[in-house]
Amino acid sequence: MPGTLFDKVWDAHVIEPLGGGTDLLHVDRHLLHDLGGAKALAELAERGLKPRNPALTFATADHVVSSAPGRTGGAHDWAQVLVDGLRLETRKAGVRLFDVGGDEQGIVHVIAPELGITQPGTLVVCGDSHTCTNGALGALAFGIGATEIVHVLATQTIEQRRPKTMRARFEGALAKGVYAKDMILALIARVGAAGGTGHAVEYAGAAVRALGMEARLTLCNLSIELGAKIGMVAPDQTTIDYLRGRPFAARGELWDQALGWWRTLASDAGAKFDRDIELDVSGLAPQITWGTSPEDAIAVDGSIPDAKPEALEYMGLSAGRPIAGTRVDRVFIGSCTNSRLSDLRAAAGVARGRQVAPHVQAWVVPGSMGVKGAAEAEGLHQVFRDAGFQWREPGCSLCVGANGELVEPGARCVSTSNRNFVGRQGPGARTHLASPATAAACALAGEIADVRDFLD
């Protein structure tokens, strides 16, 4: 029977069926971060247990670290406690830590692909809902809770009920100024924030095949915002070219052997999905959100809809007015959604030779030390600084504010992150989600702007 990418990877990890559609699955890669990593390892030790396979576990500090230039660790006292705790517990447990100050530190979902830890056909979990990002490489990757983290540490397995499958096919070609972020926001607007609940989503179609690996990571990152904790793209030549030579990728004969398996993973012709949806991206405009759910996305040249009065009130917007022209206070370019080199290039391309509006505080927070180094090697940091952006250190920063970096109450922020929830960037903060290029355009204009007006 023809199988889907999801089915093939799931089936390859079943240790034992537990009945009722639930399987005991093997975890190939377990990622820990500073928000819960130390506590989980300590809890494991309290139970008298050790990580079953510490070599399959990788930790980094990202959520609570400061993004201020010159930082050395946690952003404040309790953040420092978490970072120190992670250092201590990973050392005791024999788990590799990509620490602040090292060349490999960064946002967990940026570094796992970047270092070649995430590979096609691997099963990846992390106590973070945006673990779905890693599915861009053809991995089966999903977020888990605190109790499940301890379970994975103790047993290297996880109990999961097999979800339904959904295929989202993006056809056509993107216009200039339109990116993967716009594709996925448009899809969420179409199916709703619960549209993918209970499903593993495969992104397919000509427009997905045409995306580079970093753009695919952006696409998969927002799977959880459409309700799906798993999003995947079939591995292809783009994936293979991306992974070749990465620090944790196989080499030599093992690499060739891996390629042989990876090439069998794509969904077979005629494979059945529980749900199939198609979206033509040819006429797609840059997207931006107006409300407090990622499903509240519209074209940047569109009008604010007459819906969700509480959301409009929170956001300080009036129905029927164009969203463009809305005054902006902050701009954040960063997060596990959009902080990779291609994102920074797109934003720098808009910012080059221009100036951030005087009333706007604009930040660029690269996703990892690797991204930061690569961006600096091509002078992007100078482009941003010359334009009036702050060039900061890698971490989650303003996406979630766990490090105390917040948007002020009532202030409006155009953000390349993934959640515009009430209070997400700080109590009372108003978040508009958009692509890095759109965010850069908004920083320059000092208001919500159409990036296409800034392109040559």
């Binding site: 240790i15 034992e16 537990l18 009945g19 009722g20 559609g21 639930t22 005991l24 093997h26 190939d28 928000l35 139970r47 609570v64 309790w78 978490l82 590979q119 056909g121 691997t122 106590g127 973070d128 809902s129 999903f142 977020g143 888990i144 809770g145 605190a146 109790t147 499940e148 301890v150 379970h151 103790a154 047993t155 397995t157 109990e159 009920r161 979800p163 924030a193 619960a194 609940t197 209970g198 959880i224 309700g227 904790k229 196989a250 093992l254 690499w255 052997q257 891996a258 398996w261 759910s293 499903e295 979630v400 504010g401 766990a402 959640r419 929830f421 009430v422 209070g423 997400r424 109590p427």
Partner: protein
């Protein structure tokens, strides 16, 4: 884990859709607040007014919902962040059962790790319950019978609900999932040994 069998209790209604886990518990509380105190900070952004007093506009602050152990909510409840503290916060408010048309997938899993029963019920049924609870002038009781997999509304109407048999067993018996899986060590070791031969590149 605390066992769950039959729960007869006052029900509370939160008639909102897409309640995300950031809204349920702020990220700062996730790491700074002991689990036992998490309930105090549940929904803090909407539950309290500027002075830290209960905001009467927040549905769960109504007297008639006092002491409720069952929460009825709108669709996609618990979407967003994987933070398990959202379940701890809700449990800390006293809830042992949450009923909604749909849940965030990770939140749903997390409920069962903490002895909280999450029940998916058809949207019209949930909307009916929400209306009844909102209109009530006094506390109303719901009965949740896990062995029978039924929920009985205040008007006596009974709804059947689905639950994964493994989750049901774990709740009924208060099983510890880690202990159960540790007992499967032989199968795990055998699988890993075979996989090292099958996919050696994963193990380097």
């Amino acid at each position: 884990m605390e066992r769950f069998t039959v729960l007869r209790s006052t029900a509370a209604a939160l008639p909102w859709s897409n309640v995300d886990t950031d809204m349920i518990i702020r990220v700062e509380r996730c790491v700074r607040t002991p689990r036992a105190e998490m309930g105090r900070w549940a929904f803090e952004m909407t539950r309290f007014d500027g002075e830290g007093r209960d905001d009467p506009a927040f549905p769960l602050n109504q007297d008639k919902f006092g002491g409720a152990q069952t929460l009825v909510a709108g669709e996609n409840f618990g979407c967003g962040s994987s933070r398990e503290m959202a379940v701890w916060a809700i449990a800390g408010m006293g809830f042992r059962c949450v009923v909604a048309p749909s849940f965030g997938d990770i939140f749903y899993n997390n409920c069962f790790q903490n002895g909280v029963l999450a029940i998916r019920l058809a949207k019209p049924a949930v909307e009916g319950l929400l209306r009844t609870l909102a209109a009530a002038s006094a506390p109303l009781e719901l009965t949740v019978d896990l062995p029978a997999q039924t929920l009985t509304a205040p008007d006596g109407e009974t709804y059947a609900f689905d639950i994964d048999p493994l989750r049901k067993k774990a709740l009924l018996e208060g099983l510890d999932a880690i202990g159960v899986t540790l007992a499967r060590e032989r199968a795990i070791a055998a699988w890993q040994a075979a996989d090292r031969a099958r996919r050696p590149w994963v193990w380097t």
